[in-house]
């Protein structure tokens, strides 16, 4: 559902008023249907707490957490950063209007505070990002690999991920049967 424009300003004011400018926030109406609140990664817990627990907002429903690796190959000015971008989507449990919180992490040693005490599902979403992107969530209850086997090396969704030639003795590539009958 489209987020009312009035709410947007209210939210920006709210973040400012509650934290007296201690939280760096910026509201962008992205070309998504949902507004995006850009914040500094160290303020994530404060903002999430406000968004989830404030009686006027009540975005208690966590839709998803998404992470992206922004590699050097990226030449887009709107996201001019090398590192990791975290994208949290929260929804209001009453009318299901959504709000996104976006923050960026540095390329080396990406770290962010966990939000798994705000939502029962956050831990799994975080584990997925830890597994596939290698973002470390500080103070998490349970941060293990979720999709890949525990002995896996590397984080595949990073843009610089390189696959080995074998995994546990199983070759990772296979030539097509078409090559065997190719006429040169």
């Amino acid at each position: 559902m489209n987020f009312p424009a009035a709410h947007l300003e209210k939210l920006a004011k709210l973040v400012d008023s509650v934290y007296n400018g201690a939280v760096s926030s910026e509201i962008v109406q992205a070309d998504t249907k949902i507004p995006v609140l850009k914040i500094n990664s160290r303020d994530i817990r404060k903002v999430v707490e406000l968004v989830v627990h404030h009686k006027d907002l009540g975005f208690t429903y966590l839709n998803t957490i998404s992470g992206t690796h922004l590699a050097e190959t990226r030449e887009d000015e709107s996201l001019d950063l090398k590192g990791f971008e975290m994208f949290y989507v929260f929804s209001n449990s009453q009318d299901f209007s959504s709000l996104a919180i976006k923050t960026t992490l540095p390329e080396n040693n990406p770290e962010i505070d966990t939000i798994d005490d705000f939502s029962g599902s956050a831990n799994w979403f975080e584990r997925e990002i830890f597994d596939l992107l290698g973002v470390n969530f500080k103070n998490s209850q349970d941060l293990r690999r979720i999709m890949l086997p525990p002995d896996w090396e590397g984080h595949p969704l990073r843009k610089d991920f390189k696959e080995g030639s074998h995994y546990n003795g199983i070759p990772t590539t296979r030539s097509s049967e078409l090559e065997a009958i190719r006429i040169e």
Binding site: M1, A30, D31, T32, K33, I34, T60, Y61, L62, N63, T64, S66, G67, T68, H69, R74, E75, D76, S78, L79, F87, V89, S93, D95, F96, S98, A100, S119, G120, S121, N123, W124, E128, L132, R145, I146, M147, L148, P149, P156, L157, K159, F161
Partner: protein, 388 residues
């Protein structure tokens, strides 16, 4: 039901403290007849009671999100089928709508109607697997065969509509891949008459069965608050008494014009949000799908099925999070485009099953081992949707 009897029913049959034996670690899955696909639990049990459970997923992690980054937008469409193979067109639709919103593409009216036919048929088929596999996991084989027979009829319809039985790859950006003639619409209408009778019969087959009810009622109760906290969506969330349906609150396609109810769990046999509610919500939702399909049939008009879409689609730089109501809940696509290449920079797929899985560890605590199966089956989880 009076509150006293209700208290009594809610009480666990065996107190955990009564058994003081040692904890045994039991491994369930990934190959287990009653896990939906390849999902594994490690159960720490004391007697019959689960003390602690560790769900383990990823046995079907097929790296769909990584593959998306290496190919053009249109090539990724067949892969979305495999995200949720039981409701493939739903996944197609979510992806197509997200791309169309980002690229500003138009969809002809008839194409939207055809999409909705595909989506609703697929939703019925998906729920049929859900309510069919549930008694199967509880030990009753026959209802599953009934559900499969009905799915075969629907697959015949999908075959005419899309050309394949499963993994249809039906929807294209700005349209659908093929048109149908009036004969199909008549066939569908005729089939819907049959389906209403079948649904009634199926509910009579197991929905009234005493043993079935006893196995499900008051098992795996997820309250509304908890369901929201675990990011439940779709039928699982509605079974917990929260009537959120993205087709109603955030309408896409022509769902605005459709008249249908959103069934919610009322706890008719036990408590709101128990496993039986999850069963009955799916049954009621199938009836609603049938209503929607009839309305579509009365409104569908002739017209083009594909708008003009550039051959090499390059989306403007930016990102979108677009969600639709799939058969298993909110299906969200978070797509980032860098504005230069013809392939997405990143696609993240948010699925209903993954969110439902997050509840397992806590809900399993204190449950009987047999109820673990009942609760898990009632969630109607499909493994590739969890792992992707």
């Amino acid at each position: 039901m009076t509150s006293a009897t209700r208290e009594k029913e809610l009480k666990p049959r065996v107190e955990i403290t009564q058994i003081s034996g040692t904890e045994i670690e039991v491994n369930m899955g990934p190959h287990h007849p009653s896990t939906h696909g390849v999902i594994r639990f490690i159960l720490f049990i004391d007697g019959e009671i689960v003390v602690r459970a560790v769900p383990d997923v990823g046995y079907l992690h097929r790296s769909i999100e990584k593959i998306a980054e290496s190919m053009p937008y249109s090539f990724f469409m067949p892969y979305t089928d495999r995200v949720d193979y039981v409701a493939a067109i739903n996944c197609n639709l979510g992806y197509a709508l997200a791309i169309e919103a980002m690229g500003g593409l138009e969809v002809p009216e008839r194409a939207t109607w055809l999409r909705m036919i595909g989506v609703e048929l697929n939703r019925i088929m998906s729920h049929l697997v859900g309510v069919g596999a549930l008694p199967l996991d509880l030990g009753a084989f026959t209802p599953f065969v009934h559900a499969l027979r009905e799915r075969e009829h629907m697959m015949d319809l999908l075959e005419i509509l899309t050309g394949t039985r499963m993994n249809n790859n039906y929807i294209r950006f700005g349209g659908v891949c093929q048109d149908v003639d009036d004969e199909f619409l008549k066939k569908l209408e005729k089939y819907l008459d049959h389906f209403v009778l079948f649904l009634e019969e199926y509910d009579r087959l197991i929905g009234t069965n005493k043993i079935f009810i006893e196995r499900l009622k008051n098992v795996g109760i997820v309250s509304g608050e908890k369901a929201l906290s675990y990011s439940f969506s779709g039928p699982n969330l509605r079974a917990s008494g929260i009537g959120l349906d993205l087709r109603k609150v955030d309408p896409y396609c022509f769902y605005n014009d459709m008249k249908f109810d959103v069934p919610v769990g009322k706890g008719i046999k036990g408590t709101v949000g128990d496993s039986f509610d999850r069963y009955i919500v799916r049954i009621e939702e199938m009836a609603e799908c049938e209503k929607i399909l009839r309305q579509i049939l009365s409104k569908i008009k002739e017209g083009p099925i594909q708008s003009k879409v550039p051959k090499k689609l390059v989306l403007p730089a930016g990102e979108a999070y677009h969600h639709t109501e799939s058969a298993r809940g909110e299906l969200g696509y978070h797509i980032i485009s860098d504005g230069k290449s013809a392939s997405p920079y990143r696609i993240k797929i948010r699925t209903g099953s993954f969110a439902s899985m997050t509840s397992l560890a806590e809900i399993f605590k204190g449950m009987m081992v047999a109820d673990v199966i009942a609760y898990f089956a009632s969630l109607d989880i499909v493994a590739p949707e969890v792992d992707r």
